[in-house]
Amino acid sequence: MPTQADNERIALLQGTLDLLILRTLVFGADHGLGIARAIQKQSDDVLLVDHGSLYPALQRLENQGWIKAKWGVSSNNRRARFYELTLSGRKHLVIETSQWRKLVFAIGLVLGPEEVEG
């Protein structure tokens, strides 16, 4: 259940979901729901992962070879598909993260200090 009001949530930018999924998986294998929750929690409930986009995104990353999946059992004994980061996925994450930081920094410069706070 979301704890913040709907209008304070931010829809994910195109392409950022992939980055967040990869980042989440750095801490270990997890299933789709777990990944979604982790992103939500890490972002203090600002980022809401649309489940409809999550699974196609996972599939896309799997097809790229950045993550791999296998069926396992969840903490509450449900069968679930667990994803984990591959080596190339790790490399990709490093590159993407540094690019993202550059982008944020650059956008920050353009927008000016006050706006960044908002």
Binding site: M1, H31, G32, L33, D50, H51, G52, Y55, P56, Q59, R60, E62, N63, K68, A69, K70, S74, N76, R78, R79, A80, R81
Partner: protein, 869 residues
């Protein structure tokens, strides 16, 4: 287990697991099972949409499944309309098959006429003197230039020689070439068995050796490899066979049967005579004009023939062009014709598909309503076309493979070797596959554009039932029909012109002889007879025997039969006329026995034929043809004038022959060539009379049935006398005319096919239109149109594409016929008879094709149609 290609169930499973886990969590927050599940579903969003996105992300898998599903769907559809399928596949098989067969011919005859290594760099070395008269090569000059012209890698000399093969079941006179050692190495062809000539074979006093052609090996020695190393009898002398050349090997012109080492003359002066033919291989990258220039610059310093003081200028010609030149144009025409047939087949199939697509408008509308995109429908049409054309190509290749042996029968003079079988070449199969792909896409374009443009849902609404599918598709079908008509008119006119040209070629008046009921055979006097009078007496005795066979009207021998593809051409001078230049200088020479003109019914125009009195000791006489008489003595009486075949100025009286008669011109070997000067000598007086002759016998009834009796009679005289190649004069002539005949024959077939396809197209379009317009025609009937009004209406509608196509076709034909001009004999490209008959044929066939739908339209009951609304 790690998986890569994931299936749909696995993905759905994952989502279900997600929902279950979410439900668990929500239940933990106090919701009931049902509420929790509903909440989880709500949060997840549209499950089906997510599954679909997964499904579509698996593109490759999707495509493969699509293709399979499409295919099974198409196959089911085609099986439901077998008539349509069979018609389309047949039409395509004919279109693609003719092209595959034609390409096999082209591949063999134009692209690979010889099996030499890099045949493009082989040139024929010819020469002429300063007066432009042709002169061959002398041995002495060859020895000098072969190493001195920078662009020439290697060169070889050869000379024709006739040798009698005996000691075999059927003795035969072999066309043999004497060759220099370099010949086979230069051409780059290895023997099929044994070895090629080496230096020892050319050493003075070396034991005689021979290399046989595949044909001789097969005909006389049954392809027995043990022949290599054995001796055979050539002109009575034992000669060792050292090798056999592969099938299809030719050296200089086709038809030679054996090769022997070139003999030097015992008389050193002979080395200077222009008696040889030369081939040369150019160095890689050497340009022909450059080599020609450097060679010509060298020519002045070459030893010259003392008999011809006018010098010698070399002339180099690419040999491939010499071999294929005559066929190139003929095949360009024939291939264009098969291309046109394929185009017509294409237009026809496109038309049939359009009609079918329109009839299937309802089906497409339903599929579109069920979610098929226009793109998917178009994909289906394209796949359907490709499947049909693939089937058509397969059937076409089978058809071509079956038809090729038949076509081969017409071919020998076009460059195939005797007995050679033609196969479908891999390249031709590739052509068929390419044709299938292109045709498939071309055929699909009209139907696709129809589906992409028209309102797919229209057929579902009852109101639109009476409106014909779409205006654009109707117009498209009209254009396609018109194209078919136009193309078939071009083909019909080309075929018509060819047929007319052929009938002029084969006109008895032009041939100057009657070939029917004449039997011919090759016959050679025994090699023991060395002197010319003995030889001519021997032939006289043979002719006496033949005359005694019942059914024989007249009999003669001749050195060279007309249309036998061999010609002895020599130079001549007429007494009291200035020396002639090269072009009018040569004359076809034949030595004959007295009854020759009677046997072939060649008209004696003035004077007399030869008689028995023209014996060896009598004054020397000659008979000339009309062409020679008109040329040498225009407006004068040639009888009593004298002619000589000798060169030089110090001529003895016996070098001159007196003209005693003039005969009609006869057709030449290349049947479409204009008449040539001809000179006949009696065999009794021609010292150079060859030992090998042809027998020509005019018979009552079927000439071939007299063969055994004639042979028996000759064997009465000499049991060892070979009599070979028994065939009729008609066969010889058919062989000479086979190129124009083949062209006319194939064009007839192609144009007939084209007309049939085009008329079928007209019929199909009109039948379809009448079906579509039943309602409209019903209203016309209800408003008072009589049945003849309706017939006229339908005919008018149906003739529109025919007339448009005809106009375009006739205009195009005028241009195309100009390209044909080189192949047309005494036939103007705009021959009114041909154009008129084609117009008549076309209008008649179109009217016949339209009559059926017109009658059906006239029988439409207005009341029934309107009630159906």
């Amino acid at each position: 287990m790690w998986r890569h290609g994931r299936d749909q169930t696995d993905f759905s499973e994952e989502i279900r697991a997600h929902l279950e886990m979410e439900t668990d969590r929500l239940r933990g927050e106090g919701l009931s099972e049902a509420e929790a599940y509903a909440q989880a579903r709500r949060e997840f969003g549209n499950v089906a949409r997510v599954e679909e996105r997964f499904y579509e992300s698996n593109r490759l898998f999707l495509a493969a499944e699509n293709v399979l599903r499409n295919l099974s769907y198409i196959v089911r559809g085609l099986r439901k309309s077998p008539a349509f399928t069979v018609l389309v596949v047949t039409v395509l098989a004919v279109g693609i098959g003719t092209n595959a067969a034609m390409f096999s011919l082209i591949d063999r005859l134009l692209l690979h006429p010889v099996i030499w290594r890099d045949p493009g760099s082989i040139v024929a070395v010819w020469g002429h003197d300063k007066r432009g008269r042709g002169a061959d090569i002398s041995f002495a000059a060859f020895q000098v230039w072969k190493d001195r012209v920078p662009g020439i890698e290697s060169a070889a000399l050869s000379k024709m020689r006739s040798l009698m093969l005996t000691g075999v079941e059927e003795p035969e006179s072999l066309f043999t070439r004497e060759v220099t050692r370099s010949m086979f190495d230069m051409l780059g062809v290895a023997p099929a068995a044994g070895r090629l000539f080496n230096d020892a074979d050319f050493a003075p006093g070396a034991p005689p050796t021979v290399i046989l052609s595949d044909l001789v090996w097969q005909r006389h020695f049954y392809r027995n490899p043990a022949i290599v190393g054995r001796q055979i009898l050539l002109d009575g002398q034992g000669v060792t066979v050292i090798g056999v050349m592969p099938e299809r090997f030719v050296c200089t012109t086709p038809g030679y049967q054996a090769w022997i080492p070139l003999e030097r003359f015992t008389d050193p002066a002979g080395d200077l005579h222009y008696d040889f033919e030369a081939l040369a291989r150019l160095k890689p990258g050497a340009s022909l004009p450059h080599v020609q220039r450097t060679f010509a610059a060298l020519a002045g310093s070459l030893p010259s023939d003392p008999r011809n003081p006018d010098g010698w200028i070399p002339e180099l010609k690419p040999y491939m062009n010499e071999l294929t030149g005559n066929n190139r144009h003929a095949f360009a025409i024939l291939w264009s014709a098969t291309g046109a047939v394929l185009l017509i087949a294409c237009a026809n199939v496109a038309n049939l598909l359009l009609a079918r697509a329109s009839n299937r408008g309802h089906e497409f509308a339903v599929r579109a309503a069920l979610g098929a995109s226009r793109f998917q429908l178009a994909t289906q049409i394209v796949s359907e076309c490709l499947l049909l054309t693939t089937l058509g190509a397969a059937a076409g290749v089978a058809l071509a493979a079956a038809a090729l042996p038949v076509i081969t029968r017409f071919l020998p003079p076009l460059g195939l070797q005797t007995g050679e079988r033609l196969h479908l070449t891999p390249a031709a199969v590739l052509v068929a596959v390419a044709a299938a792909l292109v045709t498939g896409v071309l055929c699909a374009i009209p139907s696709c554009s129809d589906v992409l443009r028209s309102n797919l849902a229209a057929p579902l609404s009852a109101l639109s039932r009476s409106i014909s599918s779409s205006r654009s598709s109707t117009r498209l079908r009209g254009i396609l029909s018109a194209t078919e008509i136009a193309l078939s008119i071009v083909l019909l006119i080309s075929a018509g012109l060819m047929i007319r040209s052929l009938s002029r070629l084969l006109d008895v008046r032009r041939l100057g002889m009657e070939t029917a009921q004449v039997l011919t055979a090759r016959i050679a006097a025994p090699t023991t007879l060395r002197k010319a009078p003995e030889v001519s007496r021997y032939y006289g005795r043979i002719l006496d025997e033949v005359h005694h066979v019942p059914g024989v009207r007249s009999a003669s021998v001749v050195t060279i039969l007309p249309f036998s593809n061999i010609m002895v051409t020599t130079s001549y001078s007429a007494e009291g006329t200035p020396r002639l230049d090269h072009r009018d200088y040569s004359v076809d020479l034949r030595s004959i026995s007295p009854e020759y003109f009677k046997v072939l019914r060649i008209a004696v125009l003035r004077g007399r034929a030869f008689m028995d009195q023209d014996s060896t000791s009598a004054p020397r006489v000659a008979i000339v043809n009309r062409k020679l008489a008109e040329h040498s003595w225009p407006g004068q009486d040639p009888i009593g004038r004298r002619v000589t075949l000798e060169l030089g100025t110090n001529l003895k009286p016996e070098d001159w022959v007196t003209v005693v008669g003039i005969v009609e011109n006869t057709g030449r070997d290349a049947i479409d060539e204009a008449a040539q000067a001809e000179l006949y000598l009696p065999i009794t007086q021609n010292a150079t009379a060859a030992q090998a002759m042809s027998l020509a016998v005019r018979c009552y009834g079927d000439p071939l049935s007299l063969g055994p009796a004639i042979i028996k009679r000759i064997h009465n005289l000499n049991p060892d006398q070979p009599v070979t190649e028994l065939q009729t004069m008609d066969t010889w002539m058919a062989g000479a005319a086979s190129r124009p005949r083949l062209q006319a024959f194939l064009l007839e077939i192609f144009s007939g096919l084209a007309l049939l396809l085009a008329v079928t197209g007209v019929f199909a379009v009109m039948s379809y239109s009448v079906n579509q317009r039943t309602h409209e025609i019903g209203i016309r009937g209800a408003l008072g149109a009589t049945s003849s009004d309706i017939v006229a209406f339908v005919l008018r509608m149906g003739m529109r594409p025919v007339v448009v196509g005809a106009v375009v076709g006739f205009v195009t034909s005028l241009a195309v016929a100009r390209l044909l001009r080189a192949e047309l004999f005494e036939t103007p490209p705009s021959d009114p008879v041909v154009f008129g008959s084609v117009a008549l044929i076309l209008i008649t066939s179109a009217l016949v094709a339209l009559w059926v739908p017109a009658r059906r339209a006239a029988r439409i009951e207005p009341a029934t149609t309107l009630r159906a609304e």
